[in-house]
Symmetry: D2
Subunit: 381 residues, 4 copies
């Protein structure tokens, strides 16, 4: 009877939403166990959270520094740490764990500057550690199938991409009172130089990159501050040129009343197109030059067997955000396990978003700012 892998968490204390999601996503496949944590800057919160989660109190730590150091010295040290704190602390925390030889899963955006991200990348590589970033949407089966369809040439060469991540919460803040859980997102001291692009724009950048494999060559961004003029962006319109002469529009917003969390894309090629929306996550709309458009659902015979093999719910049923998230984690956990067994990882083992994706996200944020701050000029990527 082999033991499960173990992990610890920084952030995610009582009142945190995202910490709970990570833990449930990690629960789903039953391969790992949470054993350590520094869930809050407030140790009382850490204690309460740790007790609720039935952890050994010896492994509840005052802060991440103590946690990284003490865990690294244990024989049964955690196999990886999950970082679910606000943006501005990601860098220091990730660095600590990497320096102490512990694999990392970090929330996006990876850091608050591109330089920090590049340093983490270097450090992870130097220390030969696995470093994942929680771009969870890439875990949806239909996203994985979309990627395959593009790669297979089904829609020909991609000409144009339209992708949006539009939501409403910032528009509601002045009406329903501050939402403390989210308020820090528009606070430059915690969130960094960007709110909207850093929080959800990076999902668009990553998702399109994942599905199409297109590389951004240059972009022109207009970042808006509709809600509070002196805070951070809450809306952004970005024209994108890719390396292969294809083009795109990205639109990301927190002020589009009527949309809770509408992430979607259309990818238009020389022979067809693929469209997807997070609100219909288990379906793809596939059009080809010679056929009416089709809705492909998870149960469809066309979907590749290796994608179906990873289903949690059978075709016809719905898989949600946690299943997508769990798929990302599952790949990450399998890679850690394989390496722990002494095996050498092949590229196909790295089937999860990595620190490289995190770096790319930060480059995207900085380039958008560079363009927008000059009034929406074109900048090379």
């Amino acid at each position: 009877m082999t033991k499960k892998l173990t992990y610890g968490m920084v952030g995610g204390g009582k009142g945190s939403q995202i910490g709970t999601i990570h833990r449930k996503a990690l629960n789903l496949h039953g391969k790992v166990e949470l054993v350590a944590g520094s869930f809050s800057r407030n140790f009382k919160n850490t204690l309460i959270t740790g007790r609720e989660l039935k952890l050994d109190e010896k492994r509840l730590y005052n802060n991440y520094v103590e946690m990284a150091e003490k865990e690294s010295k244990r024989n049964d040290k955690i196999d990886f740490v999950v970082i679910v704190t606000p943006n501005n602390s990601h860098y220091d925390i990730a660095k600590s764990f990497l320096e102490n030889g512990i694999n990392v899963m970090c929330e996006k955006p990876l850091t608050v500057t591109l330089n920090q991200a590049l340093e983490l990348q270097k450090l992870a590589n130097k220390n030969n550690l696995l470093f994942a970033v929680s771009y969870a949407y890439t875990g949806y089966s239909m996203i994985r199938y979309a990627r395959e369809l593009v790669k297979s040439g089904k829609i020909g060469e991609v000409r144009f991409v339209n992708s949006q991540y539009i939501s409403e919460w910032m528009a509601k803040v002045p009406f329903i009172g501050k939402v403390p859980r989210h308020e820090w997102r528009s606070d430059p001291d915690i969130s960094g130089l960007s709110n909207c692009v850093a929080d959800i724009g990076v999902h668009v950048e990553n998702l399109i990159s994942y599905v199409t494999n297109l590389k951004i060559h240059s972009l022109c961004a207009r970042m808006d501050k509709f809600i509070e003029k002196d805070r951070l962006d809450d809306n952004a319109s970005i024209l994108v040129n890719y390396d292969n002469n294809s083009k795109g529009i990205y639109w990301t917003s927190q002020i589009t009343i009527g949309h809770e969390n509408n992430l979607n894309f259309g990818i238009y090629g020389t022979k067809g197109s693929i469209e997807w929306s997070q609100e219909r996550a288990n379906y793809l709309r596939l059009s080809t030059i010679d056929e009416p458009f089709k809705i492909i659902s998870r149960g469809n015979d066309k979907v590749s067997d290796h994608i179906k093999d990873e289903y949690v719910a059978p075709g016809g049923h719905q898989e949600g955000y946690v299943e997508a998230f769990a798929r990302i984690y599952d790949k990450f956990v399998d890679a850690i396990y394989k390496r722990k067994q002494g095996e050498i990882l092949t590229p196909s083992d790295i089937d999860f978003p990595t620190v490289e994706d995190g770096v790319q996200g930060m480059r995207f944020v900085e380039k958008c700012l560079e363009s927008s701050n000059q009034g929406g000029v074109w900048v090379n990527f």
Copy 2:
């Protein structure tokens, strides 16, 4: 550090789909641990499955009888058993565990006859055991909110219900070859007297009963055998009269090509209506006499806080079948835990489908057969 509750499983060996779903649904909230199993009539399969799941081999059993008896004698006996075998074995297995003092979660349909179901109900009550039936759709948050809306009078008194559970797999069998995993469903020796009504019709009966609290008074059923004349029903049209003079149509099918798993309903009252579809499980369509129709999604401000408190994924994101299933299990597990702590359960603790629901399902199956076998006459319920 309190220990987790433990459970065992009968059925769900390698190759089983539904066993995996139960285990993942049980994993999600991290409150229980699988420790015992008789996963197959074939002990080799049980061993393989048990090893994969990292169980102690001492608790892998040759058959359910041995499992029920041996587990019941352990100090650390399982807190409940999950039964995920074909229909015709539910009765014997459930009976064994109930007689050995172990709580039960059983797949639907509960049994193959109403009498068996009534016996299990009696036995569970006599032995003061908790007995759940896996009507998982009632675990969706929007279903729970729909039930509240009906109860609150938002749509007035219900006049009419239209509900469908339509799918296509039986229509595909002659084309794509037998689907061994499902084939037993149309085999009377394993499935009992009904395929379609027993397999998915009972979901309609349970879901409408859950959301509306309407009691069926009489029904008129036409059960069809489109695929194979000498096997079991694959389609059924059922007119239903409820106690309060409201009426309904239930339609359940396995031959509607183009629908993988379309469970849906519309409930029409004197002041408004509610509509829901499994394919858009995180959304309700609410219409009232004086307003355009509205789409209510999980993130909406109107949804009750106590429902939101149980979300796994935040509003705007998707929850799927496993989250719904996990919610049912979570209520069941909490009830077992509470009773184990010596507390007395109140009615509100029984917030999951019980053996009574299972009995009702079997009554529904038998009444449909009674009506249909006489050419579609009206029969009292």
Copy 3:
């Protein structure tokens, strides 16, 4: 320069909705001219309406008897009459015009009894006149394409039909005050023996018959009076058996709050299915055994050229109710014109709903009543 055909109208005076629609539908293709009318029992209304429509006052008549007689004696008598009065007067009016040798387009339901309908059918045949009934939905291009698809065997042999015509206006009556324009529909003295089945149920019967060519063999109907117990039916659930062992469910309602005018169907065959909804009238959902489902729109390459040749708006644009209606009228007008030219009509010229369809509708109404009045027994058709 050939002259246009001319027509007269009975009913459709100021305040009438349906009369206006008929006139606009007749305007669309510019082939006919309104020249005579008895628009109301109240001659003042007839005069006002006639003036607004710029008719010669000599051809505004006190009543339909006078109109039929006087028109029949003119050299330039109307080529056809349009009857858009309440149900109970259809028979007498149609009879008058038929006896006076004038072709007829009559609103549905054709009459208030099957016998009346049969008499009109006999009379029209005896006098060799064209008699159309305004089942306008059969004029939608996608309905015509659906009919072709079924005929071509694309979905194999039809096994099951589900069709609904659900609306809400009766449910609103008690809340928003009587709607005088519609109130007569639930008044037995004017509407006849049925409200809901006669008004919209016949559309379901006709539409399914048109698209599938299935013949009803027997049916079991439950007709409800939810709004006013002492008036006519406002909801009906009908199980249908067809001649070829295929089956169907028809549901027609005026109390489904949230649905203004939702006419839809699904037709499920051995190889595929077709689905359509009036609310998405320019699209068909086509599923086949080996393909994901497809949405076929008017502009699609697969749609037959002869159907496209009759488009008013180009593919990609929307055609509405009036275009569908105009298509029916266009076929009717062409047939009258052809016969007037002395040509002999072939079956393919009769490409509009005829008195035979009207008779079938009345048979449907009477059979539903026969079944429902006996408590929902099966009756042969």
Copy 4:
């Protein structure tokens, strides 16, 4: 008995699609009669078309010059001319009729240069003639209601607009052979300096301007030539700044396989949003800060009575492109009629797109070209 107004048409001969639509739209309300035409540069085609339409051959003209001159000298001269020729001839034809004192309805884009458009505007004003441009989408009832909603403050102040007009026909050309009817659109000699922006981009510009009353202050455009490098644009991405600090994205395309004719918008304000799509033209999606989103359909009680009074098909039924077009024409015809009666027109009589809208469209085309030709710089409007 007053006589109908009369009109003539330039273009729209046999084989023309758009000419037929204009004629049917003009037929619908029965207020005008086609009496003259120069349907083609080829007089034979004019003769054939004129005969089919049953026109007096004396009023079939060799060319538009002859037509304008001869008609202007008749006592019963046409009340207006409809111009449905390719872009590059609009200017000369319109000028001829204006100089001869005849009101004009012209297809969009109004001309091929802004200067031409300004001249026509000047000439129409000087000669006190009515000049409409066929932006037909503004005739949809739901567009008119959307405009009212914005004006009423229902969604607060507009912050952001996203609008698309995406289609696929250019992407299909290389596969299915040249489509002669459309081919000239990408021919600079006929179409002018732009294909995609001039053909469909101007619809976006006009529609948003109509619904929001926002004035464009500056824009940044990227126009693409995906299909043929040496021809005209087939796709364009345009960032727009409005006068009041609100912003927008316009995307217009002829290469998005899977979209026949998808014109849509979302308008996001401080208190809510409105969304509409041509493919669901009879429905609006309305969201407000404190309510789930609602679907408003034509039959809804909230829609203003004066909008409902203009319905052709009753609520619940569908109105299509021709009904929208007919509404525009109806306003235009009513204004001509009123002026002919000697009445003075008030601003509310000019309830149709005018030459000013046509000018604005041409300014939009030229500004997009100015921006795009410089690599996508921001240009003032």
